[in-house]
């Protein structure tokens, strides 16, 4: 077991302090990781509130859904009911503790706020979609009651627990365990479980259904994209500082982890699509998840495992900018936080 030198309260001149070195760095100037700070500022521009999402129209849609689609929606919201809370917990219990950079922690604080907004959004969603109190309680305890969701939750808890006992990342093994946790939450949980869930939402939207859910999801999705990007920034940073942490063994661990995540999500899909949904077959869903997993590997510089293509044209639509109509949906694109002062000779 290689041992990393003892942590110091102030970095010694002999060795550059590194991101995962234990401690509580409080120094913002000079800033060591300005790109983390940029992420923080960008995130603030994306501020949205739950009150802006109008779920009113969804109620009529819910009545129109076929039993198979209703089953899909009820499973989906049950997953959403606890998904973001799990992510928030890992953030507080693990990430915040070990990312030793005040600007990085600024971003994580912001992310925590966003997770809280997401939790509030899904709370509001369930309260609206599930008027029956008993059913609602059941939805919130999906982690215990619904096997396909329980399996995903177990996967998450396993990875939260994997480093939960670590107070400081002293050894190479500690740091690799931490990286696997970061990669798990970015690539598997936010990057695969949530991307899987978003696919169902966007499938419904492409059919003109549940626009309220879709517009809220749009904002959630936008936030999650940022979370993932930040997490991969952290991974990149650590890779730059400590390249020897990354080796073939770690690559294999990441691949195994993603393969397990894909299996978790496929068994969830089998449950969700159990009754047959026209336009979304289980085979296509599996292919989509494999495609997403390959993309996550690509970002980490690892060869793809599946070589699957995206079968869902409606997901390609998510990559194209929208032009929606305010009668039908709220604007999700305006910036908050415009700067400058009145002037009459600026170029425009």
């Amino acid at each position: 077991m290689t041992t990393i030198p003892e942590p110091r309260t102030a970095p010694a001149a002999t060795r550059q302090q590194m991101l995962l070195d234990p401690g509580m760095d409080l120094t913002l100037r000079p800033m060591r990781y300005p790109h983390f700070f940029d992420r923080f500022k960008d995130a603030i521009k994306n501020t949205w509130t739950v009150e802006e999402v109008d779920l009113h129209g969804d109620l009529a849609d819910l009545q129109r859904l076929s039993p198979a689609e209703q089953h899909l929606v009820s499973r989906l919201v049950a997953f959403f009911a606890t998904g973001d809370t799990i992510v928030a917990n890992n953030l507080v219990l693990n990430l915040y503790q070990h990312v030793n950079s005040p600007e990085g922690r600024l971003y994580l604080s912001r992310q925590l706020f966003e997770e809280a907004v997401h939790v509030q959004f899904y709370l509001n969603l369930l309260d609206t979609y599930v008027p029956d109190l008993d059913e609602r309680t059941e939805a919130f305890s999906a982690v215990e009651n619904i096997p396909s969701i329980a399996r995903k939750a177990e996967f998450c808890f396993k990875w939260i627990d994997s480093i939960y006992e670590l107070r400081e990342l002293r050894t190479r093994e500690d740091r690799r365990a931490f990286l696997l946790n970061v990669i798990c939450f970015a690539a598997c949980i936010e990057g695969l479980f949530f991307y899987g869930a978003f696919a169902y939402v966007y499938f419904l939207r492409s059919r003109g259904l549940l626009n309220g859910l879709a517009s809220g999801t749009n904002w959630v999705f936008r936030d999650e994209s940022m979370h993932m990007a930040f997490a991969f920034d952290v991974v990149d940073q650590v890779r730059q500082e400590e390249p020897d942490l990354f080796d073939a063994e770690m690559e294999q661990q990441v691949r195994d982890m993603l393969a397990e995540a894909v299996e978790c999500e496929v068994q969830f899909a089998a449950d969700i699509l159990e009754q047959g949904v026209s336009g979304m077959s289980l085979g296509d869903m599996r292919e989509y998840l494999q495609h997403v997993a390959d993309r996550r590997l690509g970002v980490l510089g690892i060869e793809p495992m599946y070589g699957s293509k995206n079968p869902f044209a409606f997901m390609e639509l998510q990559d194209v900018q929208e032009l929606s109509n305010f009668f039908e949906r709220r604007v999700s694109a305006y910036q908050v936080g415009v700067t400058g002062s009145v002037s009459f000779d600026d170029d425009f």
Binding site: Q318, V320, E322, L323, S343
Partner: protein
């Protein structure tokens, strides 16, 4: 990337044993060939469509035991999903949808247009008059139906028609009319003879002209509310009047009208209430109530109502007003459903420019300000300043307006003096325009007991081109027909409030608009900001205005001038373009027209307004009104779902150069619909295919100002800025005011960051979702501002009523 599965072959478990349930309940094995045949029927003129691909992809999304109706729907969806690769799939999807709708109509035993009307009449959906008209002329009308006109539709347009415009059975919700029956029904609702009806039907089914949505929804039906816009004067400064306005707004909303309402007469926060010796809470709590009221009233069961509140900037509550749309702060002081507009006197802009003070004045102290404009306003305002509630720096207030615009897109800048001085309706003192409408293209006088009304329609310029230019004769013919039928609406219309019924017959205003200007520029190869484009747009507008006035003069010769004609500026010999001091090109026709007007007057006080046309432009398959394209590739989100829209002119250009490849497509997608980075495209082509974000906004303002003399109401002019700053926005709107624009509409901006693209290949940059200023490889020389290159697309929220 390796492909483990051959996508062109259907996986085993799907090929064998997959069954569908037919309408009679029988199970049937899914047969690829059958689907291929159904597709092949429609592809005679679509050489790029691959029927087998549609069929196999359809089956891959199917589940065992699906119904044949699900199969049909899925094949439409599947075709639509291929539009991004090949735009011809849009036509295919539209045709499959038309066939689906046709089947639904026929299944109810409807075999002809007249049967469709009879059936709908039995369900209580059609007016007595239209039912009788159709019964009387059944054979002629049935023979006029031309189902081949369906071939003109793009998918998004026809989907919109099918989901929202076609009459449905009140209980079963099945469609009772085909798209062609629908247009003929609209024509019959406004016609006196079958010949007239057939002529109007042919014009609409050629998609060269479409009336606005309320007419398309309601003509011929049992509730003929066909007007788009209602302009309600501010309630008086008293409780009864305020609550009367809520009631009126509710009634107008119920029948699909878009509402503009002023609130400038109501006292501000802290003003004394003599009756109770208390202090007023100001206008915000009342607007909150209006907000809830508007949301509660469902427009004809279709969607929530919508309204825009206008306030003059001297009102004491102006600062709180500007915060009504913020997404932070106390929710009891936020109105999420109301749009906001500033109704700005020139005096304010002058003080902004001179960096002067600005006085906020309570209307309970000085009630006459809303009724004054020009010198009279300036004098009254200056005299009232000694009673000011508060004094602010004009620039500070202007800066807040700009901030609201940049952050919310809302808080539109509309100019009171220009709107009034250059209006045909303000020829007599006492007639004042107090506000514009929900889309800022309508400017009409109103008062406490007269609510201004306007019905609209738009010409598709793209359908009036021939031989490398405009087909002027065709354009004139279209204008003449359009004016007759817009005028006809005034008499047949149902008015939801007595104030509206009091105004419209007196003034008889109509709003003839334009759409597809960008299509014309693409076809003719003109950059949007070129001198030729400006010249063409101005000449087109002059031709439309001149011909519309001639048509209105002809109507006046037949039926007499509109009752309030004597109060107009035209009656005094001044036509709108003369008020501007513009020099028209067709001097002979103009002087002949003036003689006719002098002799017999005009049937309509106002004729031209450029509405946003979001919905009808979709139906016609053209670009919206006078707008530049927002992107070469974007999607629309509506109640019907999501729809990919690709610039077919660009695709044609790329195909001609052998550049329509998967790699280029991905490049365009990654650049969010911009082609400025495609080095293989020559600079002049890239210049033509710039997006609204890549054009200098000055050019948009100048084009609008150049055509403005020939628009006697106004135009819904959106401005685009991907990364607005207060400095840029304030410069831009000062320029717009100085250019003489009467009104402006949304300020479009784009998100700070966006969702990670899920389907473009992973590259070192693709994983960064921050795209406020994407790297553009080879910008065309004309653009200096790097941020303006960042292509994106916002939601042109628009008034359905005006569309």
């Amino acid at each position: 990337m390796t492909v483990t599965q051959d996508k062109t072959s259907v996986p085993d478990q799907r090929r064998h044993g997959m069954q569908v349930r037919k309408r009679n309940g029988d199970l049937e094995t899914v047969d690829v060939n059958k689907i291929v045949k159904a597709v092949e029927r429609w592809v005679a003129d679509l050489d790029e469509v691959d029927p087998l691909r549609v069929a196999t992809k359809t089956i891959s999304g199917l589940y065992d035991g699906a119904t044949t109706a699900e199969l049909d729907k899925l094949s439409i969806q599947t075709a639509a999903e291929l539009i991004g690769e090949e735009p011809q799939y849009s036509r295919l999807a539209a045709r499959l949808l038309a066939a689906y709708v046709d089947k639904e109509v026929r299944l109810q035993g409807v075999a002809s247009f007249s049967q469709s009307i009879r059936y709908a009449y039995q369900q209580g959906l059609i007016s007595d008059a239209t039912a009788e008209f159709v019964a009387r002329n059944a054979r002629k009308l049935d023979d006029a139906v031309d189902e081949d006109q369906n071939l003109r539709f793009e998918y998004f347009g026809l989907r919109t028609v099918a989901d929202r415009y076609l009459l449905r059975h009140p209980q079963e919700r099945t469609v009772l009319e085909t798209p062609q029956y629908w247009l003929l029904r609209v024509a019959c609702g406004l016609s006196e003879t079958p010949t007239e009806a057939i002529g109007f039907y042919r014009l609409m089914s050629s998609l060269a002209y479409l009336p606005s949505s309320p007419t398309l929804f309601n003509s011929g039906t049992s509730h003929t509310q066909m007007s788009s816009c209602f302009l309600v004067d501010s309630p008086k400064d008293e409780l009864d009047s305020i609550y009367e306005r809520y009631h009126q707004v509710a009634k107008l909303s119920k029948f699909s009208g878009g509402i503009g309402i002023s609130w400038s007469r109501v006292r501000g926060r802290g003003a004394l209430i003599r009756g109770t010796n208390g202090r007023s809470n100001g206008i915000v709590p009342f607007l909150k109530t209006l907000d809830a009221g508007v949301a509660a009233v469902n427009q004809g069961g279709r969607r929530k109502g919508a309204a825009c509140v206008y306030l003059e900037p001297w009102h004491p509550d102006i600062e709180e007003f500007l915060e009504l749309r913020d997404n932070t702060g106390e929710d009891s002081r936020r109105t999420h459903n109301l749009n906001l507009a500033n109704w700005i006197p020139d005096e304010f802009m002058r003080r902004v420019e001179a960096d002067g003070d600005w006085s906020l004045i309570d209307p309970s102290e000085v009630p006459e300000l809303p009724d004054l404009f020009g010198d009279a306003f300036d004098q009254a305002y200056r005299a009232a300043e000694k009673k000011a509630v508060k004094t602010v720096k004009a620039r500070d207030l202007y800066g807040r307006m700009m901030r609201t615009l940049a952050q919310t897109g809302n808080g539109w800048m509309t100019f009171k003096d220009q709107s009034n001085k250059l209006s045909n309706q303000t020829g007599e003192p006492g007639n004042t325009i107090h506000l514009s409408n929900l889309c800022t293209e309508i400017l009409e006088v109103n008062s406490d007991d007269e609510t201004a009304v306007c019905n609209l329609g738009s010409i598709n310029l793209g359908a009036h081109l021939a031989d490398g230019g405009v087909d002027w004769e065709k354009l004139r013919t279209t204008v003449r027909t359009a004016v007759v039928f817009l005028d006809r609406v005034i008499d047949i219309n149902f008015y939801p409030s007595e104030q509206a019924a009091a105004s419209n017959p007196r003034w008889r205003p109509v709003g003839l608009g334009l759409m597809g200007l960008q299509d014309a520029f693409f076809v003719l190869g003109l950059p949007f900001d070129s001198d030729q484009a400006k010249e063409l747009s101005t000449r087109v507008q002059e031709e439309i205005f001149l011909t519309a006035l001639e048509a209105s003069a002809a109507l006046a010769e037949q039926f007499g001038p509109h009752p309030a004609y004597a109060e107009t500026r035209a009656a005094k010999g001044d036509l709108h373009h003369e008020l501007w001091g513009a020099t028209p090109s067709q001097t002979g026709r103009w002087s002949a027209l003036k003689e006719r007007v002098a002799a017999t007057g005009l049937r309509n006080s106002l004729l031209i307004a450029i509405a946003p046309t979001a919905t009808i432009a979709s139906i016609a398959g053209c670009y919206e009104c006078i707008e530049p394209q927002v992107s070469n590739l974007f999607k629309r989100e509506t109640m019907s779902g999501e729809f990919l829209q690709i610039n077919t002119y660009l695709v044609r250009e790329l195909k001609a150069r052998g550049l329509w490849t998967a790699a280029i497509r991905e490049q365009i997608k990654r650049a969010e619909g911009s082609v400025q980075g495609i080095a293989e495209l020559p600079a002049d082509v890239r210049e033509v295919f710039r997006t609204a974000w890549e054009l200098p906004q000055k050019a948009l303002i100048e084009l609008a100002a150049a055509r403005a003399p020939y628009i006697d109401q106004s135009q819904s002019l959106n401005l685009f800025m991907s990364a607005p700053t207060i400095g840029k926005v304030s410069s831009m709107y000062l320029y717009a005011w100085k250019a003489g624009l009467k009104t402006s509409y949304y300020l479009r901006s784009r998100p700070a960051t966006r969702i990670q693209q899920a389907t473009v290949a992973v590259t070192s940059t693709a994983r960064t979702p921050v795209v406020t200023a994407p790297v553009v490889v080879a910008p065309v020389a004309a653009i200096s501002d790097e941020e303006a290159l960042a292509c994106s697309l916002e939601n042109p929220e628009s008034c359905e009523a005006c569309q």
